[in-house]
């Protein structure tokens, strides 16, 4: 999609479509991991929920879309009616707000992408009546956005920083006590387990990073920076061992 030497400076329909396809791949590969996380502090369905949702998203990507807004709106509507769990209305709302923010745009540059991501995250906060620190997906989203904004000079630099921020946020959810969602029924017993939604959010960011990384996602579906994905597995294991 992009040559080795020209970094992606904006995301149009082709790049966004590649992002969503990459999300589907990463969700598929990591579904058992997401379900394990949810088995520890929830109802053991997050992997299956996300897989159902993103398989449905993959199914709408071959259609023609007029602009970014149309595509992202369709993604949001698809997620709210296919995921089944709390992550459905939350990720669905994210993409619906992202779509509204991208209204009229053919492609999103550094600033427009930030605005769209931020609108999406505000949508999650509003829908979930939740905020950072409550052991939810927001614990990955919010640090990711902050890191993106701090890095912000090039789209590539900002997205890579955002993806790293999402991973840190995911890991930081481990020691937190859940006060929202199913895990809140466990109270203190939720401490020591990474939040499943924070982990899936980190995957969506990893997928976005793969789109802007020099070379982009390789055709066999493996991430450009393979080592990073594996190192990630380590962190996951640590987070769980802490419980």
């Amino acid at each position: 999609m992009t040559s080795e030497n020209t970094p992606v400076s904006e995301l149009g329909l082709p790049e966004l479509t590649t992002w969503l396809r990459r999300c589907t791949e990463l969700v598929d590969e990591n579904a058992p991991y997401l379900t394990d996380l949810d088995a520890a502090i929830g109802d053991a369905d997050h992997g299956a929920n996300m897989q159902r949702g993103f398989d449905a998203v993959a199914g709408i990507l071959d259609a023609e879309y007029e602009d970014v807004q149309a595509l992202m709106k369709k993604v949001g509507m698809t997620l709210v009616s296919s995921v089944g769990g709390a992550s459905g209305p939350l990720y669905g709302t994210f993409f619906l707000r992202f779509a509204t923010s991208a209204k009229g745009a053919d492609a999103l540059d550094l600033h427009a992408l930030f605005a769209a991501l931020q609108a999406g995250v505000h949508g999650i906060e509003e829908r979930g009546k939740s905020m950072i620190g409550q052991k939810t997906m927001l614990d990955a989203w919010v640090p990711a956005l902050d890191a993106y904004q701090r890095a912000g000079e090039t789209l590539q630099g900002a997205v890579l920083a955002g993806a790293a921020g999402a991973q840190e946020g995911r890991d930081a959810s481990g020691p937190m006590e859940a006060t929202k969602g199913r895990a809140s029924y466990l109270g203190e017993r939720s401490v020591g387990h990474i939040d499943p939604g924070a982990a899936s959010t980190a995957l969506l960011w990893e997928a976005l990073a793969d789109v802007v990384r020099p070379g982009g996602p390789t055709p066999d579906g493996e991430a450009g920076a393979d080592g990073e994905t594996r190192a990630d597995g380590e962190t996951r294991a640590d987070g769980e061992a802490a419980s």
Binding site: V80, G88, G181
Partner: protein
């Protein structure tokens, strides 16, 4: 008559709750629509889950012009019901109430009240009173 929508993760749970509530009105009860479960494309079976688009459709179907009260179970049922209002016809949203009452108690209260011709605000209020009644019965 105020329509009722039951949102649940489980279709059998919704159906059973409705059976229980309808004993109180037999015929002449309100229109009750179910939005429960999520379709698994692989098995084609209805699994546990909620679907905002299905809830929106159920609200529009349950409305006869007088409005709708939505009763729901927990977690994503609440998030999906709130999301559903985003793509429901604005006029209908105006006359729709999401009730915080627990599903079983609330549904009995709502069905009986709706059958009397009450508006959505009153039906929602009585659904909530019905759950308070349980608290009273156990207090000594």
């Amino acid at each position: 008559m105020t329509g009722i929508v039951v949102v649940s993760h489980s279709r059998p749970l919704a159906e059973a709750a409705i059976d229980l509530a309808q004993q109180m009105v037999r015929d002449g009860g309100p229109r009750i629509e179910i939005a429960a479960g999520v379709q698994d494309p692989e098995t084609d079976q209805l699994g546990l889950g909620t679907d905002a688009a299905a809830i929106s459709a159920a609200i529009e179907k349950a409305d006869d012009g007088q409005g709708v009260v939505v009763l729901m179970d927990l977690g994503s049922a609440i998030l999906s019901a709130r999301t559903a209002l985003e793509f429901t016809e604005p006029d209908i949203v105006e006359r729709t109430r999401l009730s915080w009452a627990p599903l079983v108690e609330g549904l009995v209260g709502a069905v009986v009240t709706a059958a009397s011709g009450a508006d959505p605000a009153e039906v929602a209020a009585q659904a909530e009173v019905a759950s308070e009644a349980k608290h009273q019965q156990l207090a000594d």
